[in-house]
């Protein structure tokens, strides 16, 4: 390497570093977003996979988010040892369709995991997600051991200054957040922002140090999901996030998708409010998230596309 090459590479590295540190990349992301026809797509009345196909088409197609050769993580909610009909976990049909589209868009590898509440092997199996993911060509990763996590600091967090994040998230190129819309006894709602607790190891701290603020804090993670796909095909209207029986489940056949976690959660909460009263003020992590500039609750001023199938 001669001096010229050395200086050149130094300059390139320096520029890249500056852009990364200052969020310079956001500028590029912004231009891409500006070109987007819509900020948020809401679909009703179809099957989970059909609704997703429609929604992603409106969002400009999967190719806009997943590039050829990328490593992708699809992160559903697989928290409980429950079958899909009980609406405690993300719908496996939706997960399967998302994986398929990622691979079709040229993804090198798609990985699925969740830090579950019940025994992880039972959750993965009985949720139907392990089988669906494998059938679609994704890799299932364990997440029940601390060794799979790395420390990450959260400079913007108010209560939470650091946390342990699953390495799959840190190692991937992009990740897609696929929560299910559920009532939640503690946080009131469990949607996209709450689903990030499944990429964290030390989450008991959340409950002791202001759960609502911690949910917002965890969403300040630098590597945010490229897409948030909210499964509202079956909704747990009460006794969430686990649910007790079939009586807690409403088949509402809806799906919401956005890059903005706060916006998609606001929209989903308003949708849920039709089933069971849920004022936005009670879901405090929404306003906390907005204050931390994770996204906006002002969905009326967003370009929202509503589709009924």
């Amino acid at each position: 390497m001669d001096r010229r090459d050395f200086l050149k590479s130094l300059a390139i590295a320096g520029t890249a570093f500056t852009l990364k540190m200052k969020g310079g990349m956001d500028v590029f992301a912004q231009t891409m977003e500006n070109a987007l026809p819509t900020d948020l797509v809401a679909v009703m009345g179809g099957e989970p996979d059909a609704m997703f196909k429609k929604a992603i088409e409106e969002m400009g197609g999967m190719g806009r988010y997943v590039k050829r050769g990328q490593k992708v993580v699809v992160k559903p909610n697989i928290g409980w040892d429950k079958v899909p009909e009980l609406a405690a976990n993300t719908n496996p049909i939706l997960v399967k369709e998302i994986i398929k589209q990622c691979l079709a868009a040229g993804a090198k590898e798609v990985v699925v995991f969740d830090n579950t509440c019940d025994d992880w092997k039972k959750c993965y199996a009985n949720s139907g997600i392990e089988a669906a993911a494998k059938a679609a060509g994704a890799k299932i990763l364990p997440a029940d051991n601390k060794s799979y996590y790395s420390d990450v600091s959260l400079p913007q967090g108010k209560k939470l200054k650091s946390m342990q994040v699953h390495k799959a998230i840190l190692d991937c190129d992009v990740w897609i957040n696929v929560p299910i819309l559920k009532h939640h006894g503690g946080a009131n709602m469990s949607i996209a922002m709450k689903n990030l607790m499944g990429i964290i190891w030390n989450r008991r701290i959340f409950h002791i140090s202001d759960l609502q603020q911690c949910i917002a804090d965890v969403c300040t993670l630098e590597k945010k999901p490229i897409l948030n796909v909210v499964d509202a095909y079956r909704v747990l209207k009460a006794n969430g996030p686990r649910g007790r029986s079939q009586e807690d489940v409403v088949t509402s056949k809806a799906l919401f998708i956005s890059q903005d976690m706060v916006a998609v959660d606001t929209a989903a909460t308003k949708f849920f409010n039709q089933i069971q009263a849920m004022p936005l003020d009670d879901v405090k992590y929404l306003s906390h998230g907005q204050a931390l500039k994770i996204g906006t609750m002002d969905i009326d001023n967003l370009n929202v596309k509503r589709i009924k199938m």
Binding site: C117, D119, K139, N145, G185, A187, N188
Partner: protein
């Protein structure tokens, strides 16, 4: 030929049973628990008449096949002995008084409520603990090394798993058993089986009457003593050309060793001589064991939270567990939720090592009955899913004054989140917050709330054990109002 069959069966049973005990990843289907169900003391304690009859019939026909090919401790000793350099044995006199005294002491202590004694010496259970507390961690450690390498290259066929010593006392007992019996076997073959083991004493007694036996043809025998050197039970007296059947474990090693073809496994022709004094001793021992009242009061260690320890599903009560469990720790090893650990003083000294529920690593899965399925002793009686859903092993206790919702004024609800019946339900508190409200009647005592409660050092919510398990009330199901959702709501 006979020896080959014996070795093949032993290797199969021993290998599968050992692996089943260690198999944290669930590679072997749970049906392999039958290997535990065919063990002698578990069959006796679970009143498994079919297995008992089978074992007795087998012994009466072919001798101590159990000790040779079914009992994992027997095979463990054979493996240990194989590691020994000198594999030469010598005839030893039978110590009948010691053997029967030990057996009588076991029975008496067991009836007095010291299940721990039979738990320590039952060969199957003792081996089970060695497998769970010594072999399993080694196996897991090896797995973790493999997982580390494989995961590094992006392959997740192996995954990391947490290795923990569940109970210091049980680990120490397992380690001591491992060393003690291992060294004994290394030097003296089946000395444990023929001196201490209560099953060995009982089956040895039956073996005297068995139809087929190892027999020395006194015409062919030249008293060379080669067979005696090969006998791991040290029961062949070459000079007298006799075999002590109370100690012979039918390993068939002697048959092949004899140059004169003077040893055979054949029908018994000799009449048995009866020693009256031995019978009297046995009878009096058994009478004492049966008649002895439970005079020793059990001392209970004070628990940090609970007044009563929580016995596992199917145990019915700690008292019943005490009478049936020999602490083989199969349930502990198999529990997918890691809620079972060996007791220390939770049940009193007599119940040491028996499984007790604790919620440090997990909580009892609502839809799981695995521990009751695998228990060979029927100490955990088998439960249907419907029974399990209504089984109340304990009841929830809530301490509102230390709950974070009250002390910090922030959301939590982790307890309710984990509650399968909503015996812990979040109800409106103030400022849009919700606080737990408990309904102990519908609580099953799974410990989900206690496991996840973030409050320390004492938790704001925990489970108090039921001395005798109860049936929980069925929870009310809210009527479903099928309101059609036709709009987005925004």
């Amino acid at each position: 030929m006979l020896k080959k069959i014996r070795v093949a069966v032993s290797v199969l049973v021993f290998g599968l049973l050992s692996f089943y005990f260690m198999d944290f990843a669930g590679i072997l289907p749970s049906e392999f628990h039958v290997l535990g169900h065919i063990q002698f003391i578990p069959a006796w304690l679970s009143r498994n008449i079919a297995v008992m009859l089978g074992l007795v019939a087998c012994t009466m026909l072919f001798g101590r096949v159990y000790c040779s090919s079914i009992c994992p401790m027997g095979m463990f000793q054979d493996v240990a002995n194989r590691c020994s350099k000198s594999k030469k044995f010598a005839y030893r006199k039978n110590n009948l008084v010691l053997r029967w005294s030990i057996l009588a002491a076991f029975l008496i202590l067991f009836h007095l409520g010291f299940a721990v004694i039979i738990g320590i010496f039952d060969p199957y259970s003792a081996y089970g603990r060695i497998a769970v507390h010594i072999f399993k961690p080694i196996y897991m450690f090896a797995n973790n090394i493999l997982a580390f390498v494989f995961n590094h290259f992006g392959n997740y066929a192996f995954y990391q798993t947490e290795i923990a010593i569940l109970s210091i006392s049980s680990f120490c007992i397992a380690l001591f058993t491992f060393i003690f019996i291992g060294v004994l076997a290394l030097a003296k073959g089946r000395l444990y089986c023929n001196t201490i083991c209560p099953v060995g004493t009982v089956l040895g007694f039956m073996n005297k009457f068995s139809l087929f036996k190892i027999q020395i043809d006194s015409d062919k025998c030249v008293s060379c003593g080669i067979c005696a050197k090969k006998c791991k039970a040290s029961c062949i007296d070459a000079r007298a050309k006799t075999v002590d059947y109370s100690r012979c474990v039918n390993c068939f090693n002697c048959i092949n060793s004899c140059n004169k073809k003077g040893i055979s496994f054949s029908m018994n022709k000799n009449k048995l001589e009866v020693d009256k004094s031995k019978r009297r001793f046995l009878l009096s021992g058994l009478t004492i064991a049966a008649a002895a009242p439970a005079v020793f009061a059990q001392t209970k260690a004070e628990l940090q939270n609970r007044k009563n320890a929580i016995s596992p599903p199917g145990a019915v009560s700690a008292e019943r567990l005490l009478k049936h469990c020999t602490s083989c720790h199969l349930c502990i090893s198999k529990c997918p939720s890691k809620v079972l650990k060996p007791a220390f003083m939770e049940y009193g000294i007599g119940g040491m090592m028996q499984p007790v529920m604790y919620f440090e690593k997990g909580f009892c899965n609502f839809d799981c009955t695995l521990c009751t399925d695998v228990c060979p002793n029927n100490a955990l009686t088998s439960l249907t899913m419907e029974q399990k859903h209504r089984l109340q092993v304990g009841r929830v206790v809530f301490k509102p004054d230390i709950c974070v919702v009250h002390t910090k004024g922030t959301s939590c609800g982790a307890c309710s989140e984990h509650c399968p019946t909503q015996a812990v339900k979040m109800i409106p508190y103030k400022n849009g917050l919700t606080i737990p409200f408990i309904d102990t009647d519908i609580c099953v005592g799974c410990g989900g709330c206690e496991f996840i409660c973030p409050v320390r050092p004492h938790r704001a919510i925990y489970v108090e054990g039921n001395r005798v398990h109860k049936q929980a009330k069925a929870f009310d199901v809210e009527k479903k109002d099928e309101k059609e959702i036709t709009d987005f709501g925004f």
